[in-house]
Amino acid sequence: MDAVIRKQLKIKACKARMGIIEGVFNAKSGHPGGSLSCADILTYLYFNHMNVDPQNPKDENRDRFVLSKGHAAPALYSVLALRGYFPVEELKTLRKSDSMLQGHPSVKYTPGVDMSTGSLGQGISAACGMALGAKLGGKSFRVFTVLGDGEIQEGQVWEAAMYASAKGLDNLVAVVDNNGLQIDGKISEVNSPYPIPEKFRAFGWNVIEIDAHSFDEIDAAFNAAAEFKGKPSVIIANSVKGKGVSFMEDQVSWHGSAPNAEQYEQAMSELQQALAELEA
């Protein structure tokens, strides 16, 4: 990847992380850990890969994005705001009763959200339907969905995985945000879905494994998926839950809790410093 683009993406991703912390802190609830772990992937998709236009969010030829792990809504909102779908200031209204930003993504409230999600396992099915719609209509748009690694414990994910390959949905790319943690603990201990790549291969998918925080690897993976024909592609993105905020990293306790004022200051200070270094 071009060094300038990589740097720009890192800056956007850092700002996206600040938006996540801002939103969850003001809401006093939400899911920072799994939002931070997929922030780089979402930043890449919206700023460097997907064919989208914030001025025309309903364009029928746009690429689609479904956040199957809907609890990472703060990450999606933060990236959508930075991309220009709505003002960044809105992030502070997250989860408030008069906000356009629901606790989980909703097409009814938020410009740029392509599918309402939140109940795990359902987003990937909708993504399959969108990909099928593209094929049926002879359209070239592509469909992207991000799943949690805990989410793939849901049986519906495997119904959809079987379906996507059986119908030859090579215009669909799924990402598994493989941060290794779910609410009750390590996913390997709660109810292990490992090995993940072998499972998707057995279901007929093209499987790519990457470091979820390396833009070079992210870029290579999505470009490879775009070129792969005949099967849907899945990117197993090995990530760190809470990535970018030192005390949240790899800590299951930050799955679904908001920082207090002191923690908020520390998190923002760390991200400000990272941003300053990137912009230097």
Partner: protein
């Protein structure tokens, strides 16, 4: 007198889908390995490029229907009522109704008249489940003519619709030129002493019950409530004001279906009249021939007559 035509509403559904497919190229049909039984197989044969089988995976099918609908298609998703409203309840709620997507759920094999397959497949709770979901419209046609008309009307409406069809062949009630009015209950015949609100295959029983009641000097008004949600309160309350007593009749649990909807409307009107519900009591079904089961579970004209007398006695 010519023989009465008997057709299952699922057959009318299958034929109507083919008719729709010919006039609307945005109609897409999904099924979950039951195309022969739900009759979507007719559409599959006519328009194979617009038919997709999800296999035995109803939850995923509803999600796929939702996604397809976002790309501009009018999607009909079919399986048995038990799996459409039961197994895939949460997918219908969260992936279809919450985003208010243009998906029509064609649920066949509803109620006790599934027959020999028994209780595991006899869904008598689907109306209750679907009623509780915001944005959902529920249509329960009484015969093949109404079923066809309802399918065509559902395709014109933008938003989620749950359509309830039966396995059992039922007598035709309506003329071929019957006009289906969206959300409007139909007063089939006027009466003075009691109102019978019926839906689905119980409409035919209500018409028979009227004859039986007339023989005893009781005048019954018959209302066909083909659309259970939104409920046509105006027509029902006007009839209640006139007759002063209501019986509801449905091939569904007495909990949460037409009877509950009518009772809620009557109670809240402040002009209370007795409402007596006929339906499947709070119990599971069993195996047996469909017609026999309908009698065993009390879903017939004789029981409507008994409930009508009960309602009148409560005035």
């Amino acid at each position: 007198m010519a023989d009465v035509i008997k057709t299952a509403t699922r057959d009318a559904y299958g034929k109507a889908l083919v008719e729709l497919g010919g006039i609307n190229d945005k109609v897409v049909v999904l099924d979950a390995d039951l195309a022969a039984a739900t009759k979507t197989g007719m559409f599959k044969k006519a328009f194979p490029e617009r038919f997709f089988d999800s296999g035995i995976a109803e939850g995923n099918m509803m999600g796929v229907a939702a996604g397809l609908a976002t790309t501009g298609y009018t999607v009909f998703a079919s399986t048995f009522a038990m799996f459409a409203a039961g197994r895939a309840y949460e997918q219908v709620r969260n992936s279809i109704a919450y985003p208010n997507l243009n998906v029509k759920i064609g649920a066949t094999h509803a109620g006790i008249s599934v027959g020999e397959d028994g209780a595991s497949h006899q869904c008598c709770e689907d109306i209750a489940l679907m009623r509780a979901i915001p944005n959902m419209v529920i249509i329960n046609p009484a015969d093949d003519v109404e079923a066809r008309a309802a399918v065509l009307a559902a395709a014109e409406y933008v938003g989620p619709v749950y359509m309830r069809f039966g396995r059992l062949a039922v007598p035709r009630i309506f003329d071929e030129d019957y006009k289906f009015e969206w959300g409007k209950a139909v007063v089939l015949s006027e009466g003075a002493d009691v109102t019978i609100c019926a839906t689905g295959l119980m409409v035919k029983e209500a018409i028979e019950a009227k004859e039986l009641l007339a023989a005893e000097g009781i005048s019954a008004e018959i209302i066909n409530v083909h659309t259970i949600k939104p409920l046509d309160k105006e027509t029902i309350l006007a009839s209640a004001a006139k007759t002063g007593a209501i019986v509801t009749a449905e091939e569904h649990s007495i909990i949460g279906g037409l009877g509950s909807a009518v009772a809620e409307a009557v109670c809240e009107s402040g002009k209370g009249v007795p409402v007596v519900r006929l339906g499947v009591n709070d119990e599971f079904g069993r195996s047996g021939p469909a017609v026999e089961l309908l009698h065993i579970y009390g879903l017939d004209a004789q029981n409507i007559v008994a409930k009508a007398k009960q309602a009148i006695s409560l005035k």
